[in-house]
């Protein structure tokens, strides 16, 4: 067990290190150093040099890379060029929106996707199955940001039940905050749950064909009992795989959906930073998102081992 964990953890760290290097190198190719970008082309060279020294961009690349990584490890994400405030503070504020949004969307997705998938498998080739599969084909094809706009049209412009966008902040109270996240979370979740429903259905159908399920039925378990006791656990591997991918997808898609609803999360932070050429924040946020994706993959690997002990042995 510990050897498996160690191996996975080492590859997790190696991937993070590679990711940080790639992000640093890509953004390093930016023409002109940050001081020139901030001061504009007309600034006198002495002023540029002075600011470059203050920002630390006159140091050699390796020193800057190591400084960046060390800083992040200590929670210091550098200073935003555009706002002059610590990038960590900006990121913290944004995460307070993005993380709850992604978690709510993931919870909705899981509930809806699993329920529909199991329902379809239980009604295999009957009307309910065909209907769920047809709906899910359409769901997969809908861009989440268009679905978001349609939800705004219906619930904000048409019915006036929910806000069309904006976020009052958690200081305004839990309910006003959650209210602002309902439509964004639903638009993220619906599309993902279409994918999850399909995967769940085929995973459950695969397991239903196994001999041990026939045995379970033969010994007198009802369809429902067999499903609960034997099928679901064995169908979990493909389902957990796809859910891991989906969580990473949701984190990235929040960038798009936050912009539909003008929510001050990571997505808006990163787009504003691009517009302001605020390289420090762009670099930090890209790194953070990449790290979250890698971390989710790592957790999925651990879950595999917990679900199916055989995988652990095969890996060693």
């Amino acid at each position: 067990m510990s050897a498996f964990l160690l191996k996975r953890f080492a590859s997790f760290l190696a991937t993070l290190a590679c990711a940080s290097l790639v992000i640093f190198l890509v953004l390093e190719v930016l023409p002109g150093n940050a001081a020139e970008v901030i001061l504009g082309p007309e600034a006198p060279p002495e002023t540029v040099a002075a600011l470059a020294k203050k920002l630390g961009v006159d140091r050699p690349p390796l020193a800057r890379y190591l400084g960046w990584v060390e800083g992040m490890a200590e929670g210091d994400f550098g200073t935003s060029y555009a706002y002059g405030t610590p990038a960590a503070a900006l990121i913290d504020q944004s995460l307070a929106l993005t993380i709850p949004l992604a978690l709510i969307a993931m919870a909705l997705n899981t509930a809806l996707g699993l329920a529909l998938g199991i329902f379809a498998a239980a009604r295999h080739n009957r009307f309910g199955d065909v209907a769920v599969m047809a709906l899910s084909q359409i769901g997969i094809a809908i861009p989440s940001f268009w679905f978001a706009i349609l939800l705004i049209l219906l619930f904000a412009v048409g019915l006036g039940w929910l806000p069309a966008g904006g976020f009052p902040g958690w200081s305004a109270g839990l309910w006003p905050g959650l209210r602002a996240l309902i439509l964004p979370a639903v638009s993220l979740a619906i599309v993902q749950s279409a994918i999850l429903a399909r995967v769940t259905r085929s995973a459950v159908l695969d397991v239903l064909r196994e001999d041990f399920v026939r045995t379970a039925r033969a010994k007198g378990l009802s369809e429902g009992q067999a499903l609960r006791r034997h099928v679901l656990r064995n169908a979990l591997i493909p389902i957990v795989t796809i859910m891991g991918l989906q969580f990473s997808n949701l984190l990235v898609l929040t960038i798009v959906v936050e912009n539909v609803f003008y929510l001050p999360g990571l997505g808006r932070l990163i787009l504003n930073s691009i517009a302001n050429r605020d390289v420090v924040v762009v670099r930090d946020v890209v790194m953070l998102l990449a790290a979250m994706v890698v971390a989710v993959n790592f957790v999925v690997d651990l879950l595999y081992a917990a679900i199916d002990p055989r995988l652990k042995l095969r890996d060693l």
Binding site: P143, W146, I149, I274, V282
Partner: protein
């Protein structure tokens, strides 16, 4: 139940292939027609006639600058196809080459290719596009590159997985026994045998490329005005959501139908090209 054996006969009875094929054909025709003709030039600004409802002159109405929405929709199809074809080609060519190499050589090379593709999964298309935009400024090239790079590990994995299965077959063993080298075997035996899987994958990746292109253009990172793109049209429509809510419908519907068509076509091709891979129903 009759079992048709020829491809056209089986295709004629396969509803998802037919519907998918029809929608994909419609996408191609829209793009093709718009190369030669559009009702109104989508680049003409006609502010006095802005935000009009559909009429005989403007079939789907006009946007905030008086652009003809139907014409923009047609030209937008060109844009989606352009980005999709180039991005998927990048992923297909590089990914397939890497995957075939990994399967043929095995050992550390295979391990390296697989670790590299694991690593690439840490960078979804939007993250790559964001970095490229910070680097080069927004533009269609960014979205093509970002989606293309995102596709490489997908094709590498699919190719390697299927190619390894082919390498284990008897006819490959026979080819090795008569002294064919790995490159020759890859070209004459392995690639032709995995081609159908790759075509199916390419169709599905094409659909996903259209979705990503729309998302990137919506965010302002992809296709830039005046070139019409479905994603940008949605962004413009959102600004008019209270005055002209109908503008949000056509571009979204176009994206949805294009993606739906390609996905159904991919599913259909999977069933038809390789019955062993057919989704069990």
């Amino acid at each position: 139940m009759t079992t048709a054996t020829t491809f056209p006969a089986r295709a004629a009875g396969h509803w998802s292939f037919l519907v998918g094929g029809a929608l994909t054909l419609a996408l191609l025709i829209a793009a093709g027609v718009s190369l030669l003709w559009t009702p109104v030039s989508p680049y003409v600004i006609d502010v006095p006639n802005k935000l009009q409802l559909p009429s005989a002159q403007h079939w789907l109405g006009t946007d905030a600058l008086g652009h003809d929405v139907f014409s923009m929709l047609l030209v937008g199809a060109q844009n989606s196809i352009l980005v999709g074809v180039i991005a998927v080609s990048i992923g297909f060519s590089i990914g397939t080459a890497l995957g075939a190499l990994a399967a043929a050589r095995g050992g550390w090379l295979e391990e390296a290719v697989m670790r590299l593709s694991d690593f690439a999964f840490a960078f979804p298309a939007i993250l790559t596009a964001i970095m490229l935009t910070a680097l080069l400024g927004p533009g269609i090239v960014n979205s093509i590159l970002a989606i293309g790079i995102f596709n490489i590990p997908i094709f590498a994995r699919v190719t390697r997985g299927s190619a390894k299965a082919v390498w284990a077959r008897d006819f490959v063993l026979a080819a090795r026994a008569v002294g064919r080298d790995r490159f020759g075997i890859t070209v004459t035996h392995v690639l032709p045998n995995v081609l159908s899987i790759l075509i199916v994958q390419a169709t599905i990746q094409f659909a996903s490329a259209i979705l990503w292109e729309a998302a990137l253009s919506y965010l302002g990172l992809g296709t830039q005005p005046p070139q019409p793109s479905w994603g940008r049209m949605l962004n413009d429509a959102q600004a008019q959501l209270f005055q002209a809510p109908w503008l949000a419908i056509p571009p979204g519907l176009a994206i949805m139908l294009a993606v739906l068509g390609l996905n159904l076509l991919g599913d259909g091709l999977r069933d038809l090209l390789d019955p062993r891979l057919a989704r069990r129903r």
